[in-house]
């Protein structure tokens, strides 16, 4: 039997790839070493955050599973940057790890056409036309039109802790050794990256009473349109490393595999280990540590902020120097993992490997870090495998339309020296890409792909149309300077209303307590509290939003432009050699196709568009 898609790896990328493909009607096999390790969270027990939460929101609007599963497994919900405008709100949920995995296994198990296969992929089946399937340990074979590799950190994985070294993909699991060599044999360029995880401590051994407790938002905000209500069930705790920690680490730096030179892989700058932090920021005397439960019934506490690969005795000394952790018992020690990634410029924006038909990649294997980045890429690879199989154009998003588009564009078009993590600062059209607009931007595509029910779309559309109407009303109605309103404004904002003004004008100028004002502004009082803040927040973005929308429309128009046949890319001044090579090799017929090429930059695309416009005008 030849399946449409075989997904190798049951992590966050693999789950989304397999689920999206199966739900679009493809026959899918998901190959994983053990059924129980599907959708694990091997590092922090949380989904979302700033940038990452944006990806989860987009994936949810497109019919992905991660946000919904995080809602079901969620223990504490918080929107980061809530005091800022809607563009940078970053929803995050602490999750029960075991439950998250269980939910995902259950969903995958129920999907028709999706079969979970327990086994180890030891190689690829390669024919004249590209990859035709995978070889399993023990001699089995699975044939497929498209193979999606989502092997995470397992490719050539090597775990480090002090002088201890052990081949492994993550704690207690064997790495995949043959597959990497096989990819290299197909001519793919590999790189070595590194990441790490902190120790896990036994909750009963910690003295949490004296520490600062951190609860979730009330009311909690779910990620998904599928979720009705969610509840905060746990608190986390905050503590700080004392100066002693700096001394302990400095004294033992020679025993760190990072600094002793044992680790060749490059780790992420933005997620540094505690030994990294001590070396790079010696003037910071203290480092914040969050203590996060890994499950509702779990004894395990994740020590966020103390990622380390120091030897066990040093880890113990460091942890026990921290207030509240003096008698901490270790359930697991921190470690670093080095692994191979495929340099991502070798895939197109549909995540298909350019030089090997039938093969696509997603997740950490492509050099990203984080569950959210992996899930979003997995979804994209799964959807495009199905569309490609039908002979349809791939699903792509531009940088102006989605964080998913920014991420793919960055991965494919730029050089990367460290694992890629999503940040809002990577999105130049950030104001257009807030979580408030994710459904508006993407849900119609989810419906078209068959991953979101149309009825849901209509419900959501009513919601954003209500926001638009409220906005129009605020523009059109003047603030009545009656006594009650004047008093309210004086109390809430300390302003004296003298001349009449529109509500919109007032809200743009002043930081007012929106809920307090709602009673006076009828347009706001009909909205949900979150929608009120969105409407007002967007009013304040007005001038900038208009500019970004113009730019987004310009880029969108670019995509529809045809490139004349018989073009000589090397004659176009201003293009980099790399872009010229790509254009000559692939001969795109439209700017949309050109944009899909690896190494293509927005600047190069603009140059091409300018050239076409001029040649067209001149005949």
């Amino acid at each position: 039997m030849v399946r449409d898609v075989v997904v190798v790896g049951g992590g966050h990328a693999g789950c989304e790839a397999a689920a999206a493909a199966a739900r679009m009607g493809a026959t899918v096999a998901l190959v994983t070493l053990h059924r129980e390790t599907i959708a694990q969270m091997p590092c922090n027990p949380a989904i979302g955050g700033i940038g990452k939460g944006h990806l989860v929101a987009e994936l949810d609007a497109l019919g992905g599973l991660q946000g919904w599963a995080a809602d079901r497994a969620g223990l504490q919900f918080k929107v980061l940057n809530a005091s800022r405008g809607p563009a940078v709100w970053g929803p995050r949920a602490q999750c029960d790890k075991a439950r998250y995995s269980e939910i995902m296994r259950r969903v995958l198990g129920r999907l028709p056409r999706l079969e979970v296969v327990e086994g180890e992929v030891v190689g690829l089946l390669v024919g004249a036309g590209g990859v035709t399937g995978v070889r399993l340990a023990g001699g089995g074979r699975l044939r497929a039109r498209t193979v999606i590799l989502t092997t995470g950190t397992f490719l050539g994985g090597l775990l480090h802790r002090g002088a201890e070294r052990e081949p492994g993909g993550r704690f207690g699991e064997r790495p995949s050794l043959g597959l990497g060599a096989e990819l290299a044999g197909l001519g793919l360029e590999l790189r070595r990256f590194k990441t790490g995880t902190p120790p896990r401590l036994a909750r009963r051994s910690l003295d949490l009473d004296g520490l600062q407790a951190q609860g979730g938002d009330e009311p909690p905000r779910p990620f998904s349109w599928r979720s009705r209500g969610v509840r905060n069930r746990v608190v986390c705790w905050l503590t700080r490393t004392p100066e002693l920690v700096q001394t302990i680490i400095e004294d033992n730096l020679h025993r760190s595999p990072l600094f002793a030179g044992a680790i060749a892989g490059v780790g992420p700058r933005y997620c540094p280990s505690i030994e990294d932090k001590v070396v790079r920021f010696p003037h910071h005397r203290q480092h914040t540590v969050f203590l996060e439960p890994e499950g509702l019934d779990s004894e395990s506490i994740y020590v966020n902020g103390l990622s380390t690969s120091l030897p066990r005795d040093v880890q113990e000394a460091v942890v026990r120097a921290v207030p509240g952790l003096e008698r901490a018992q270790f359930l697991r020690y921190g470690y670093a993992v080095e692994y191979d990634v495929v340099a991502p410029h070798q895939v197109g924006r549909d995540l298909a490997v350019q030089s090997v038909p039938g093969l696509a990649l997603a997740g950490q294997l492509l050099g990203t870090s984080g569950y959210e980045e992996a899930a979003a890429l997995g979804w994209l690879a799964g959807v495009n495998a199905v569309l490609g199989g039908r002979g349809e154009a791939p699903w792509l998003a531009g940088r102006e339309r989605a964080y998913l588009g920014v991420m793919v564009d960055d991965l494919v078009g730029r050089e990367h020296v460290e694992p890629y993590r999503m940040f809002t600062s990577r999105a130049e059209h950030r104001l257009l890409l807030g979580i408030d607009s994710a459904r508006q931007r993407l849900m119609a595509d989810g419906v078209r792909l068959g991953l979101v029910r149309e009825s849901v779309f209509h419900v959501e559309r009513r919601r954003w149309r209500a926001r638009e109407r409220a906005r129009e009303t605020l523009e059109a109605t003047a603030v009545t300077p009656d006594r009650g309103t004047r008093e309210t404004l004086r109390e809430l904002a300390g302003i004296e209303l003298r001349a009449p003004t529109s509500w919109a004008g007032l809200l743009r100028r002043q930081d007012l307590d929106v809920d307090g004002l709602a009673a006076r502004a009828p347009a706001l009082s009909d909205l949900e509290p979150e929608d009120r803040r969105i409407v007002v927040g967007l009013l304040r973005y007005d001038g900038y939003l208009a500019r970004h929308r113009r730019e987004a429309a310009r880029v969108e128009r670019l995509r529809s432009v045809a490139i004349p046949a018989g073009w000589e890319p090397h004659r176009i001044p201003g293009l980099s050699r790399e872009v010229v090579e790509q254009l000559e090799r692939h001969r795109p017929r439209t700017l949309a196709e050109a944009e899909r090429l690896p190494g293509m930059t927005p600047a190069a695309l603009a140059i091409l568009a300018g050239r076409i416009a001029r040649e067209g005008a001149g005949g």
Partner: protein, 448 residues
């Protein structure tokens, strides 16, 4: 905490895949002419022209024989090979010095084209230097300014700009704004990690950048005066001797003289050099009561020229008459002169210079006074940098963006700073669109 940004734009400007050729010296007859070849096959093309010269060794001048496309001997020439990237364009380059006959040069260019080179477009060599990171756009402009320099000040300004003095100020300005953006983005993307948003820091950075932009923009007027010439209008009543003085200054200063054609009723201009600065001297129709509509129009133009000039030379006869209040220099720095002093008696009033064009009396004092006015008008250059019109426009766009920065709302402050950075990047060519480049290089002569 470090933050990684990406604006989504990158500089994708690399040189051409083909080899270009042009004469680098002016057209016409001369002692020598230099032919420049640049590109991946520069040495191959040069070898076709001068087959026996060793081009593998760089930066050494060698004697050789220049041959035409049929291989016939044309000239004894000096050939210098500049292997890339240590060349002007950053590519492989060869320069051939031939005797400066237009016929010889034409044959040599023909042979180069026959060997596979393409005639260069104006400014294309410098454009490639920019593309290969040898120069930034601001320095490239200075190359053009230097080539066109006609006065000491023009050369001095162009040289300092070419050496990167102005580029460095732009770079410092840019780095300051990148630091501001890092401050904002760090607080937005790392909010859970105890990184507070320091609005006061952002305000300080934005204000510093705006002050620096204002300082740079303030040099624009001086920059224009140096590049285009400081405009000095002579204003006075009919028969006060304006044209005599004009001819005297134009003749005496021995600068480039190019009087524009025009009637005596119109404004007549000539370019002279005063104190190392190019000056456009303007002779105008006499002011007073107009006899006819044509004369009235001439007077209107005279007043207009004076009103737009950088400085005014007031020329009134030694008969006690004075300019009307509205004519007294138009708020510009002015030098007031009593003319035809040889015909007058008595002493000159305070603030007036006594000059006689026929005896030459007072002319040296007048020249010193003019030099002082000119020097004071370019003094705000600080001797270092002056921005051009293109720079000024980009700087003012950046400043306007920063002025609107809503520091209290970090994601909006970031928008303003990013937009300002885009304007600055356009300035240095870091993210130059093809249109910007076309505009900058359009004024170049071929061979540069």
């Amino acid at each position: 905490m470090e933050t990684a940004f990406s604006s989504g734009w990158s500089s994708a400007l690399v040189g051409g895949a083909d080899t270009i050729v042009a004469r680098a010296t002016p057209a016409g007859r001369g002692g020598l002419a230099v032919i420049r070849i640049s590109g991946p096959d520069a040495r191959g093309v040069a070898a076709a022209l001068c087959p026996e010269v060793d081009l593998e060794v760089g930066w050494v001048a060698r004697l050789g024989t220049l041959r035409d496309r049929e291989g016939a001997r044309l000239d004894r020439v000096v050939v210098t090979s500049f292997p890339g990237p240590r060349s002007y364009t950053g590519e492989d380059m060869v320069e051939i010095s031939v005797h400066g006959s237009p016929w010889l040069v034409a044959r040599a260019l023909e042979a180069a084209v026959a060997a596979g080179a393409r005639p260069a477009a104006p400014g294309e060599f410098t454009r490639r230097a920019v593309a290969n990171g040898k120069l930034d756009l601001v320095q490239a402009e200075a190359v053009n300014d230097l080539v066109r320099a006609q006065t000491a000040w023009q050369a001095r300004l162009a040289r300092s700009q070419l050496e990167g003095v102005l580029s460095k100020r732009f770079a410092v300005l840019r780095d300051g704004l990148v630091a501001v953006l890092a401050e904002i983005e760090g607080a937005l993307d790392f909010a859970p990690h105890d990184i507070a948003y320091r609005a006061d820091e952002v305000r300080r950075g934005v204000d510093e950048a705006r002050a620096e932009i204002a300082a740079l923009v303030a040099t624009a007027a001086a920059g224009r005066r140096v590049r285009e010439g400081l405009r000095l209008a002579i204003l006075g009543p009919r028969n006060s001797g304006k044209s005599t003085l004009f001819n005297l200054l134009v003749g005496r200063e021995r600068a480039i003289v190019s009087p524009h054609p025009g009637t005596t009723r119109d404004v007549v201009e000539a370019e002279v050099e005063i104190g190392g600065v190019a000056v456009v001297l303007q002779d105008t129709a006499g002011v007073g009561d107009a006899a006819d509509p044509v004369e009235a129009e001439g007077m209107r133009r005279a007043r207009g020229a004076a009103a737009e000039a950088d400085a005014v030379l007031l020329l009134w006869p030694a008969d006690g008459s004075r300019p009307q209040p509205e004519e007294a220099g138009f708020g510009r720095p002015a030098v007031a002169i009593r003319s035809k002093w040889d015909l007058a008696a008595g002493s000159v009033e305070d603030g007036w210079l006594a000059v006689s064009c026929s005896t030459g009396e007072g002319v040296d004092a007048l020249r010193r006074a003019l030099e002082a006015v000119v020097a004071s008008e370019v003094a705000d250059l600080g001797g270092e940098v002056a921005v051009s019109e293109r720079h000024r426009a980009a700087l003012e766009r950046a400043s306007a963006e920063l002025e609107g920065a809503e520091v209290a709302r970090p994601e909006l402050a970031a928008e303003a700073v990013r937009a300002a950075l885009e304007s600055l990047a356009e300035l240095t060519g870091e993210v130059a669109s093809e249109e910007v480049l076309d505009r900058v290089f359009a004024t170049f002569c071929i061979g540069k």
